[in-house]
């Protein structure tokens, strides 16, 4: 079963991001929204994607722009709140990590 992990807090402030990555299985995807967008350049996320190149990491572009956050590596996919609905239906279930 593919899970969508929705991260809504900064991984620099707590270990929720690390905990989420611990629960990650193949076919899962990650979505950064709200303060989760502060993770667009987080080492743990970049490392996770290096280890599993097929891992899809999305972020809500509007939320990132509002916070002056740019995904420098450009390996994460910008998306919109509207498209999150589609994303949810592409997965079997989801967890919100906030």
């Amino acid at each position: 079963m593919a899970m969508l992990h929705i991260i809504r807090s900064s991984g620099y402030n707590n270990n929720v991001l690390a905990q989420c990555l611990n629960m990650l299985l193949p076919n899962d995807s990650i979505l950064l929204m709200d303060d989760g967008c502060y993770n667009v350049n987080h080492k743990l996320l970049l490392k996770a994607q290096l280890a599993a190149p097929e891992l899809k990491i999305y972020f809500i572009e509007q939320h990132a722009t509002a916070r002056a956050q740019k995904n420098t590596a450009q390996t994460f996919s910008p998306t919109t709140l509207t498209d999150v609905v589609t994303l949810l239906f592409q997965h079997d279930n989801s967890i919100t990590w906030s």
Partner: protein, 133 residues
């Protein structure tokens, strides 16, 4: 109360969808743990299949020899022993979280299953709806 409700309605209420509750916080500094347990008991009261997961600081909720009354907190941990009456029997704890905290496998409830990080995650993935506390 199932007897007061026509059968066709109860059939709709009890689905095959499974619910997981993922606990990530220690028990006493916030109300999160108690709220999580209350949620589990409500699902149990309505015969909704539910599993409890403990990871990270959440494992502090299930370790043995705690005494909430010492710090004058109502001991909601005692309620865990009543889970069987609510047909809540799937309780999983992450082994790595225990090891990380140097905790032995000593719990105040009896039917806990300790799983490796990977097995824990796979079990979690098998549920349709996941609430994180």
């Amino acid at each position: 109360m199932s007897e007061a409700i026509p059968n066709n309605i109860t059939d709709n209420m009890t689905s095959n969808r499974t619910v997981a509750i993922l606990n990530t916080e220690a028990p006493f500094s916030s109300a999160t743990g108690k709220e999580s347990l209350d949620t589990a008991l409500i699902f149990g009261s309505y015969e909704q299949a539910i599993s409890l997961f403990f990871i990270g600081d959440g494992v502090f909720q299930v370790i043995g020899d705690q005494n909430a009354t010492e710090i004058e907190i109502k001991d909601y941990l005692k309620t865990f022993s009543a889970l069987g009456f609510y047909d809540i029997e799937n309780i999983y704890v992450c082994r790595e979280s225990l090891t990380e905290r140097n905790l032995p496998e000593n719990f105040h409830i009896s039917n806990i299953q300790v799983l490796s990080n990977k097995d824990f995650s796979q079990r979690l993935h098998q549920h349709n709806v996941i609430f994180r506390f």
